[in-house]
């Protein structure tokens, strides 16, 4: 049986969506039969591989590294899914958007102790002027809202993806938050 080449990625987010993914519990075993996990924060892979069937992307696009990875994912995946509210809406990371990047860095780093990264150096990637949802940067094929999406939602979406069907969630499974 052909196994789907499956990936999950983590951009600007708290990893809560990945935690929720692990809440699939025993379903993870079913899933393991049907997919090959080719890239994920929970797997030690450095490069995003070629020819991926489905990638779930957690987190918003907050900096240039996020942007680069998002573009790689898009170029190498057949289906890209915005996984959780940060990827779908920008969510909590985007709360910084009403501040300018300079003000933000000053408030977070410069006014505190320690080194003063400016972004774009070896300490920290350059921040984008605004945190963006994934679909404003690359084309996204399906949206899985929730903060985090609970295991039930994730399973509903993943089952559809495994079956090669479009992801259509029930209203109570597609609320933000």
């Amino acid at each position: 049986m052909h196994k789907l080449r499956f990936a999950t990625a983590w951009l600007g987010g708290c990893s809560g969506c990945h935690m929720s993914f692990l809440d699939l519990d025993e379903k993870l075993i079913d899933l393991a039969d049907k997919i090959v996990l080719v890239y994920s924060p929970i797997a030690d892979v450095k490069e995003f591989p070629e020819n991926v069937d489905v990638t779930l992307v957690e987190g918003a696009v907050a900096n240039l590294d996020n942007l680069k990875l998002a573009q790689e994912i898009r170029a190498r995946s057949r289906l890209v899914v915005s996984f959780g509210d940060c990827a779908v809406t920008g969510n909590v990371p985007s709360l910084r958007n009403k501040l300018g990047v300079d003000d933000l860095l000053t408030a977070v780093y410069h006014e505190g102790p320690g080194r003063h990264p400016t972004g774009g150096d070896e300490i920290m990637p350059r921040l984008l002027p605004k945190v963006l949802p994934l679909h404003q940067v690359v084309k996204v094929d399906a949206f899985l809202p929730g903060c985090p999406p609970d295991a039930e939602r994730i399973w509903a979406a993943v089952s559809a993806l495994l079956a090669g069907e479009p992801v259509v969630l029930e209203p109570n499974m597609r609320t933000f938050g």
Partner: protein, 559 residues
């Protein structure tokens, strides 16, 4: 005052004017005053008093004569002779022309400043509403009466029933000059048929389109004509109270209207028992406070009642439930300006002018990149080409005509390919623009159409009242996308989203402001799509206006 007194007043004033051998009319409207018109008027008066010619020569400060970019304008009238119009008059020119026309000195008229009556600017125009503008002192009731003023009101009150007045207006084919073009007579008849203890007549003088000043000029140049039109309307629909809503930016117009109302009331032409009939009609001026949306009739009424100028959904229409819940007739001031001539000359006369569906004349404020800018009144159905090239004198600096923008932020741009289109309600609508209130901005090759669309969208965004979501937020989002197109950060997807947004805002907004806000975008996409794609795909602004200094997000990684 009754009808005979009115006639006597007219004759007295005519005789008084004819007694002067020479009348010198100086335009004292805003454009001419800001080009030095006051100094000209002072110089003329000085020459008259120096020469001791007060008995033979009369200087009159009048309203607008039309070719504003050629101001200050002066017209010389001598009995039995054709009027002579002078342009770009300075104090020296003024002194010379007074001396020459007063015939007292051997002075030679400054002929190089004469604008011949045969000039296309004048020859192609037909003045109905503006018939008195520039020829009378707007602050003198007698001047208006001498030219037949209030005769139509007297006739209507004495010879016609309200129903007959409405029928006459219907028969004339007059349509609303505020922009939408609803048949005026039908509106009147609807209000007339409503049963109510109280009805109102409202004149919309809240001219808000940037680039339009027809209403200001009419209110400043011939205030009584509007009052007379409103009074006839009041009689026709059974109202005893009128409101004239004047834009806050037009203090001179408001002041002249107030004075005109008081003068008319003193003479019994307004107020109780108008012209000794049983008809009572009061008019009050209300000053707007700077909100474009108040040109929308329900928002305007909210503003008259002292509220935030936010529109309310129609129906009910103002004709059924308007000011304070009473039947209310609202027309543009230019519409009221057409009433007296129709009653005076008959519906058939008016219906002769114009096209099959658009009757009469329309005033336009011709502005932008044309040789002669100013105020013009033309018969409906005249071609755009005649307006631009004959009346306006073509595009200066040897540049090519690119587009004419009509209807302001609710209208659209008409490209060169349609220069021969007749200017009437239906033809303009078919081209994706509208007649609008009468702003007409001519653009040459140096105008970027995306930038123009952005300009209008910014206007609509600022002027949105905020009540309904599509207009409040949709205009902001449309403006954002246009900004991205002009700064270089747009993607092809943005153009598709922009078009979708336009359709949604157009179809779902609560009032006319939101419903028409996408028009400038839709019309420029329709005729100048290649300019949009040049910005997005080639990072190039064909007119050289946009800076395009940014890139789309996707290109930041490589940048």
């Amino acid at each position: 005052m009754n009808r005979a007194d009115l006639e006597a007043m007219a004759q007295r004033e005519q005789q008084r004017q004819q007694a002067f051998g020479c009348r010198i009319l100086c335009c004292a409207s805003t454009p001419c005053l800001s080009s030095g018109g006051q100094a000209v008027y002072d110089a003329i008066n000085a020459v008259i008093s120096e020469g001791g010619w007060e008995a033979e020569v009369q200087a009159v400060a009048t309203g607008c004569m039309g070719p504003c970019s050629h101001g200050p304008m002066v017209t010389v009238q001598r009995p039995g002779e054709e009027d002579v119009v002078y342009e770009r008059v300075t104090s020296d020119v003024a002194r010379a022309l007074v001396a020459a026309h007063a015939g007292k000195a051997a002075a030679v008229a400054p002929v190089e400043h004469v604008m011949p009556a045969s000039a296309p600017f004048f020859a192609k125009q037909q003045k109905v509403v503006l018939a008195n503008s520039g020829l009378i002192d707007p602050e003198k009731l007698e001047d208006y009466v001498a030219r037949g003023g209030y005769r139509a009101l007297a006739y209507a009150l004495r010879e016609m029933t309200p129903e007959e007045v409405c029928k006459e207006i219907i028969a004339s084919g007059l349509r609303g000059r505020g922009g939408a073009g609803f048949p005026t007579g039908l509106k009147w008849d609807m209000v007339r048929k409503e049963h109510s203890d109280k009805k109102y007549v409202v004149a919309n003088g809240d001219e808000g389109d940037p680039g339009a000043y027809m209403d200001r000029s009419l209110m400043e140049s011939d205030p009584h004509r509007i009052l007379e039109g409103m009074a006839i309307a009041g009689y026709a629909v059974g109202a005893d109270q009128g409101f004239l809503y004047v834009r806050g930016e037009y203090p001179v117009a408001a002041k002249r209207l107030e004075r005109a109302i008081r003068a008319a009331e003193r003479r019994g032409l307004l107020g109780s028992r108008v012209l000794e009939s049983g008809f009572n009609f009061r008019i009050d001026v209300r000053i707007g406070a700077g909100a474009f949306v108040c040109g929308e009739e329900t928002a305007l009424m909210a503003s008259i009642m002292g509220h935030r100028g936010q529109p309310v959904p129609r129906p009910p229409y103002p004709a059924q439930s308007g000011l304070w819940g009473k039947p209310t007739l609202i027309n543009n001031v230019e519409t009221y300006g057409s009433i007296a001539p129709i009653v005076e000359n008959g519906a058939a006369w008016f219906a002769e002018i114009g096209t099959a569906k658009s009757k009469g004349t329309k005033i336009f404020a011709l502005a932008g990149k044309v040789a002669t800018t100013g105020l013009i009144e033309v018969p409906m159905g005249i071609s755009l080409r005649e307006i631009v090239y004959d009346i306006g004198g073509g595009i200066p600096d040897g540049l090519a005509f690119k587009a004419a923008q009509t209807g302001g932020p609710s209208g659209g741009c008409i490209p060169a390919a349609h220069l021969d289109t007749p200017v009437d309600y239906e033809s303009l609508k078919a081209l994706g623009s509208i007649m609008g209130s009468g702003g007409m901005i001519i653009m040459d090759e140096h105008s970027c159409m995306v930038d123009v669309a952005k300009f209008f969208m910014e206007f609509c965004m600022d002027e949105s009242c905020g009540k309904c979501v599509p207009c409040r937020v949709g205009t902001v989002q449309m403006h954002r996308i246009l900004e991205r197109i002009t700064d270089g950060s747009a993607t092809p997807q943005d153009l598709a989203t922009l078009q979708e947004l336009c359709m949604m805002v157009k179809e779902t907004s609560l009032c006319g402001l939101g419903q028409s806000a996408p028009n400038p975008v839709l019309s420029t996409i329709r005729y100048f799509a290649e300019e949009y794609t040049a910005h997005i795909a080639d990072h190039h602004c064909p007119a050289g206006v946009c800076t395009l200094e940014k890139q789309p997000v996707g290109e930041w990684v490589t940048a």
